[in-house]
């Protein structure tokens, strides 16, 4: 549950005057969810990168960027599912770390184990997502606490299991998706599998969000009471969102593990980077607003920003400061522009009988 800032509540009369006269529909649609804003920001960053390093847009460097960015894009898709349904998932960073460590330990360098272990990782991701989702929806623990808890649990349990440092090794075939690609593509050189996977997942996510499930999910994030009254099984769609997030984190783990192998620090802090990416894309914390494309663009923007920092030889220590300012500025800008304003949370009246019982309807 988002701690919504409380200052945006309108008067009790429903006549606060929030009607906007019809802006051109196409433009409005483009601007909706902040897609335009983040696309512009991304373009801007790419332009600056290009001036610094013109060769960046020649195939291989761009593909190398794509390879690096793919895991965050995938994590952002997962985080988007959860955020748009009105919740948070802080456990993804820990989950990525845990999955890589699990993979290394169980595969232990044996090629034959690769596929079974990937299957097992998927199951594990599913279980983590189910736990996050069911604890949040059925036990009504705020998701920030639930996923904070799973974050601690995963972090501790995996280290306990491996005695503190990862053991074992990944097999070569495990590393293919994250590290290699389709060779000999004209101009690009190598088309990384990571990019292919991220593209497939992004396209899949776009279709998912246009499906009945996707629309139910967004409606739930926007107004879970209305969604419940419309027959949406709120607990179910939210739990599915958490499962989606955990599965995406698992895929990201396969790519990250494949990209760079096992180190003890894998996944640290990824949850905040992923949330940053999603929010930068104009997806509103609290749910109901923003598109998956915007979230993907947000992830690319974050990665491009890191690349830019590097190109500019910005001391790596100052990068967090710039990152912090940019996300505050981006969200403030979005809040200032009417179209991204936080959803007008209607006053929750605990005295109202239906709101509570339905809002958390749990059958």
């Amino acid at each position: 549950m988002t701690p919504n800032p409380t200052q945006d509540v309108r008067g009790t009369g429903d006549s606060g005057g929030s009607r906007r006269s019809g802006a051109p529909t196409a433009l409005a649609a483009l601007g909706r969810g902040g897609t335009a804003t983040v696309a512009l920001l991304l373009a801007l960053i790419f332009v600056v990168i290009a001036t610094q390093n013109p060769s960046f847009f020649e195939g291989p460097p761009l593909m190398s960027f794509a390879k690096k960015a793919a895991p965050l894009v995938i994590l952002a898709i997962g985080q988007y599912l959860v955020i748009v349904s009105g919740e948070f998932d802080l456990s993804v960073g820990s989950l990525v770390g845990a999955q890589v460590v699990i993979a290394a330990r169980l595969i232990d360098g044996q090629e034959a184990m690769t596929l079974p272990v990937i299957g097992l990782m998927m199951v594990f991701g599913l279980v983590v997502g189910l736990v996050n989702g069911l604890v949040t929806t059925l036990l009504r623990v705020p998701s920030i606490i639930t996923t904070l808890g799973t974050m601690l649990i995963l972090f501790g349990a995996v280290r306990y299991w491996t005695g503190g440092a990862p053991t074992g090794a990944l097999s070569e075939s495990f590393r293919v998706p994250g590290r290699h690609g389709i060779e000999g593509v004209p101009f690009l050189g190598e088309l990384p599998w990571a990019l292919v996977i991220a593209l497939v997942l992004a396209v899949g996510a776009v279709f998912l969000m246009r499906s009945p499930f996707g629309r139910s999910l967004v409606a739930t994030g926007d107004n879970d009471v209305a969604a419940a009254f419309s027959g949406v099984r709120v607990w179910r769609v939210r739990t599915m969102a958490f499962v989606g997030s955990s599965l995406m984190a698992t895929v990201a783990a396969i790519l990250i593990g494949g990209y760079a192998g096992v180190t003890a620090q894998v996944g640290d802090g990824l949850e905040f980077t992923a949330i940053t990416a999603v929010v930068l894309g104009g997806v509103v914390l609290g749910g109901g607003r923003g598109t998956v494309v915007a979230a993907v663009l947000g992830a690319l923007t974050v990665e491009a920003l890191f690349t830019l920092f590097n190109q500019l030889y910005l001391p790596s220590t100052i990068q967090p400061s710039v990152q912090g300012l940019i996300i505050i500025a981006a969200v403030a800008y979005a809040a200032r522009r009417g179209d991204l304003r936080l959803p007008e949370r209607l006053r929750r009246r605990p005295a109202h009988p239906t709101e509570r019982s339905l809002g958390t309807s749990r059958r």
Binding site: S64, Q265, I318
Partner: protein
């Protein structure tokens, strides 16, 4: 909504100024991905200590040659008879550990536990209590305080998480009258009975830097990969490297903080490779060295000359790809020494007041030997862990 906008701009500007202004002062910080600065930070560079450590590399240590963990360089033996324990088999050793949050510490801690078991079986020490501070300075201060207050400890061993911040706590421990043994990172006091450490960060950084200078043509480019700022043992390594690179004709492309995260290392190296050649890699710790090398593979570029660490995945890669490489060593076997020192102290034997352990890098000629010795060991294990003669070998390390 004009006000917020102005406010935002103002706040942003102000904060940028705040964060940026001090970076302009070169005396303060050796910043620069641009790599121009090769003057070691005064805060971290102690010329005398630097020279001393370089010299110590050449001094043959005292002590049994097959037990480097019992060797000491230029020891100053001190009498510990005041700490003699009547019944050492009942003596309680208390160990305040900073953490086991990285593979080096994990390996070391297993060695330590095995050493404890060995001594317990011999009836030379009794209970062994450990508290782990999970890298939290404040937690470790509490942990040490708890040991002191409990009054059960007959010796306190401390592996401080940070040098400066743990000083008061170590002093408190000393004041309690119990013998205190400090190892790995130091503290700003000499109240403990003995301070055990390998030669040090300067020597480590110098070993690595010297190797690069020797093996690279003048004018070659070197990229420095560092873990975190502000950790003294790591800062010393970098300060020594800066000193040596400054006197060389190598071009340092920059130094980057990686948090030891393989993905970050690989990404950073890839980006540098996009912009130009990288001939040498200097690392302040070997974590993720393999990821860095893979960036060269993936970019289709020849392997660099690299200074990693005695971590096995790196050494195996070295062997496989026949790299020009060195594995500087921050002697992992030092984890055995504090237990042995405590045992000696409780027995009233003399110990060196500052116990400087040998610290020799693994060079190409010893590579095969160390790989063979550690053939069963997992990756992320450290070659010079020095536990081969302990009873739990090898299961304790392979099946952690």
């Amino acid at each position: 909504m004009r006000v917020p906008r102005v406010l935002l701009a103002g706040a942003a500007g102000l904060t940028l100024m705040l964060t940026a202004c001090t970076t302009d002062a070169p005396a303060d910080s050796p910043e620069g991905g641009s790599g121009a600065e090769l003057t070691p930070d005064e805060e971290w560079f102690d010329e005398a200590e630097f020279e001393a450590q370089l010299a110590q590399r050449e001094i043959p240590p005292e002590g049994p040659e097959d037990q480097p963990w019992m060797q000491a360089i230029e020891p100053e033996w001190i009498d510990t008879s005041e700490f003699v324990h009547d019944a050492p088999e009942d003596a309680t050793l208390c160990f305040s550990n900073a953490s086991v949050s990285n593979p080096w510490r994990v390996t070391g801690f297993i060695t330590m536990e095995q050493q404890v078991e060995a001594l317990q079986e011999e009836g030379r020490i009794g209970e062994f209590r450990v508290s782990d501070a999970a890298d939290d300075d404040n937690q470790q201060i509490s942990d040490i305080q708890a040991f002191v207050d409990s009054g059960d400890c007959d010796a306190i061993i401390i592996s401080p998480s940070t040098t400066a911040t743990l000083t008061p706590a170590v002093e408190t421990a000393c004041e309690s009258g119990v013998p205190v043994v400090v190892f790995d990172r130091g503290v700003n006091t000499d109240c403990m009975v003995t301070f055990i450490h390998p030669i040090g960060g300067y020597a480590y950084g110098a070993d690595a830097a010297d190797f690069l200078v020797e093996n690279l043509e003048p004018g070659s480019t070197v990229l420095a990969l560092r873990i975190l700022p502000g950790v003294d043992v790591l800062e010393h390594r970098w300060a020594a490297a800066q000193e040596i690179f400054a006197d060389s004709e190598l071009e340092v492309l920059g130094h980057e903080f990686t948090e030891g995260d393989g993905a970050k290392i690989k990404d950073l190296v890839s980006q540098h490779l996009q912009r130009g050649e990288v001939d040498g890699i200097w690392m302040d710790a070997g974590d993720g060295a393999v990821a860095g090398l893979e960036a060269f593979e993936d970019a289709g570029q020849p392997y660099p000359v690299i200074a990693g660490e005695d971590e096995l995945s790196f050494m195996r890669k070295w062997k496989e790809e026949e790299l020009t490489a060195i594995a500087p060593v921050y002697s992992n076997f030092q984890w055995r020494t504090p237990i042995l020192a405590a045992d000696m102290i409780l027995a009233g034997e003399d110990v060196p007041s500052e116990w400087v352990l040998p610290q020799e890098p693994i060079r190409e000629d010893e590579l095969d030997e160390y790989l063979e010795r550690n053939a069963d060991m997992p990756s992320l294990h450290y070659a010079k862990f020095g536990g081969e003669d302990l009873p739990g070998f090898p299961e304790a390390w392979t099946e952690r």
